[in-house]
Amino acid sequence: MSFRLDTGGRFIDRSKPRSFTFNGKAMRGFEGDTLASALLGQGQMLVGRSFKYHRPRGIVASGSEEPNALMNLGRDKTFEPNARATTTELFDGLEAESQNHWPSLEFDIGELNAKLSRFLPAGFYYKMFLWPRSFWKHVYEPIIRKSAGLGRAPRHRDADHYEHFNATVDVLVVGGGIAGLQAAKAAGEAGAEVLLIEQGAHWGGRAPVDGAVIDGVPAAEWVEATVAALGAMPNVAIRARTMGAGVYDHGYALAYERLTDHAPDPSLPRHRLWRIRAGRIVTATGAIERPLSFAGNDLPGVMLASAVRDYVTNYAVAPGKCVVVVTNNDDGYRTALTVQEAGLEVVVLDARSEANGPLAEQARAAGITVRVGRGIESVKGKGKVEKVWVCDQTRDGSNPDPIKADCVAMAGGWSPVVHLWSHCGGKLSWQEDGAFFRPDPERAPNGADGAAFVLAAGAANGELETAAVLTDAYVAGARAAAEAGATGTAGAAATADVELSEPMLPVWNMPERASYALRSKAWLDYQNDVKVTDVELAAREGFESVEHTKRYTTLGMATDQGKLSNINGLAVLAGALDQEIPKVGTTTFRPPYHPISMGAIAGEARGALFQPVRQTPMYDWHDANGAHWEPVGHWRRPYAYVKPGEDVHAAVKREVLATRNSLGLLDASTLGKLVVKGPDAGKFMDMMYTNMMSTLPVGKCRYGLMCSENGFLSDDGVVARMDDDTWLCHTTTGGADRIHAHMEEWLQTEWWDWKVYVANVTEQYAQVAVVGPNARKVLEKLGGMDVSKEALPFMQWAEGAIGQFSARVFRISFSGELSYEIAVPASQGRAFWDALLEAGSEFGVTPYGTEALHIMRAEKGFIMIGDETDGTVIPQDLGLNWAISKKKEDFLGKRAQERDHMTDPLRWKLVGLETLDGSVLPDGSYAVGEGVNDNGQRVVQGRVTSTYFSPTLERGIAMGLVELGPDRMGEVIAFNRVDGTFVQAKIVDPVVFDPEGEKQNV
């Protein structure tokens, strides 16, 4: 059982005890502990259940590669699932619980799955649950959902907040080990602006634990001095607890800073996502140790050798009293020496036939038993390591001899962390001695300048010895600085003694000729429960591509992204396929390197800042007067103003009737207003609109249509001629920015020699539609300009004063009523609105929202962009031929509208629809025809585009597109309802209110 040692621990402060709970049980650790080291310090080896077989699992690693120790942290509004105990810094009051167990961690019913494991091989989902078909939904899926999975999804709104930060630097160095420090120092000395980031809380990486000596002093001292030196350089910024998460095109990188995870403070941002633009990126991300594949290698107590010495050295935690180090290389002896020095028993099993390097000799000299040519046949124990069966590595594992042990330290060799190098297309090459993939500098990710923008350094570049790491990092840092434009010279590189070592021996199966029974208990991917035999099965079944094998077996697809399992899995696949490992290749590395929080990705964009909400000058009035909001683009417009005791339908009805009978007000400020001016503006307007705009007399208004070059209707609105060379175009609310961009595009990229300027003045004006039989009376009451029929007839505009407001008044109507649309400067919009309300009170003035607007326009048969149009509708479909000039040689969309399909008489065309029973047609309903089509679907002959209850007519009204519709007036056709029934509707004229226009033209 693991326990806390009496002395030592680089990171912990024994004078600061910290209390926390695990599965509700009170536990204690120290300041500086990770949750993992604190759990081990308390003897808690069992930390979770595996994904598929619910096998008991313990802590394997000491860093972000940890596959097993995933925790639910916190509760309620600060709850977070799937947090790694190894990267969770301990604080007072931390609450953790293990995952994927039921009913308890110690007694788990799902463990039965393990007994059934031979019935649950790779791909079992695909094979077992096919028949009977109905069982999937009602039996298999609910059971699988309950027993599989990791942490549970949070149920509460996250109480924390998050932010982004944009930074541009010459050189980004990822990784704060000795390579990163050396690279940053070299780049900084050369004069580059450098940002150095480290995922953990400590600088220096592994070197202090591994006993490196740099520039003649212990690595820890060199690290401290170098961090201080970097901190003093004005052009270098260093940041711990900040992980390089992803590398993207053109030097873009994401980094994930954890500000308060180690010391929760709800007033501060929890995480900060750095969006970095770097000239060059140095990845000094180190290397990860590989496990060895022997039977029972997933029992709690089996750990990476490097993790064992991390826990002993950094946290003074012994993972066991009797440690078996099983290794295929010299580095494993460092762990043996460390644990022996801590007073633990240790035996080394070296898979190599000989081990005579300096470290092995040192171990022997220290009295450690070293057995060469040996491997582990199996590890046995009930829920933890109890006995290790030792065998000849080169044979099949027969005749093993037992050793009593409670911890196994696996030293399977090292794999460079190549993730960031690979994210943006960097390729790898296989290094035979060391048996790992390393970055291939000839095939680096290229930047905008066509040169490599990522440089790997140190262990991440395949250099595993201290001296080589420092030299490599120095070169990378200096080169990155020079390529990013720095002109200074880096100082000297740090030096270290050359560490002699003997070659490692790649070991993919232990023992080499392990039987099926042994291989089927040898785990490759702990988190997704993938074993050696699963990968072999995939190969046998024809999944020869590594990408296919990955998906079939789920190897490397868990939240650790195969950090431990990747190379071992590839090697097993290569072996099964009888291929070279580099031929098999790797799966694709994708960001983020390690999971990052959703909150960090969202940054500030949540709650009120989720999206910009565009507000008109009258927004506060609407909000205070019952506005039921409707989003229109980013705008918020009142759908209706709901009064106390009223529902929204009643409000809409009241607004329509009040407007039709007396006086309504609409906040029309959101309508687009574009000024088009210049000597060629008339010519340009004629290209933009389907109708003739160049002939519009000054002072007049004209309704116009705009089409895309593909012929489809894109926007509509009233155009006013301001003066000789100036037009004012009104667009739809959603169309202002789009149509402005559309105009600029044609002016800049096609007709750049035309003298036309366009300006978007939408927000300069607050615009109010004053609508209804009493519209003129209220304006006359306010006084100012002459708004009589004679002075300002229908479809004209004038400039002047309304009351004390300078205004532009347009006599246009979208409701069929007497109507003035009045634009005043936005800064006076609210005052103008208030003045209209006050003057209109004697007429029962009623502000109305978008729904009343829609109903009144539909009663008049006016189309609405987005309702009657959907990007496939041409003006001719809507009976708008009158607004399409036949005189003009050209306008946008004209050529397209000449195509066969556009002139097909069978195109669906706009009509009014009147239900026989007066009901409201369902929105989106289709008119059914006779028979079925080739796909066996009911033939359709039309569809509803707008449908409302008309308070004016007290029945349903609708418009729709119907095949040969205008030729079928009076015919009754059937429309479907969602419940499968049909409703009969008569084809009628779309204009159902005041067809002669007597009300608006007064």
Partner: protein, 109 residues
Amino acid sequence: MLILKCPYCGVACDETELHAGGEAHLTRHGPGSSDADFEEYLFMRENPRGVHFERWRHVYGCGKWFHAARDTATLEVFGTYSAQVAEPPKDVRAAITAKVPGWRWRDLS
């Protein structure tokens, strides 16, 4: 995420400040054109792995459209230039040739 230098205001723009506008140097065919020409103009687009010419708009900046010559595979940018030209200028073509000898794009080379 690309960075393209706007040739009008000189700013090195983040991709999120730009609007992508598809293929560059199309010839408009309007009324009177053949079906084949119109189809070519409206729908047919190059999709090269390598040298490409594109339209971009500095939408969150000066608002100007410009052209970019870049490699769709390596993301190398050979140059950005005025929107008011019917084909890439000589210096941009020379820059491409220096990096990608023998390149072809539609009828350019």
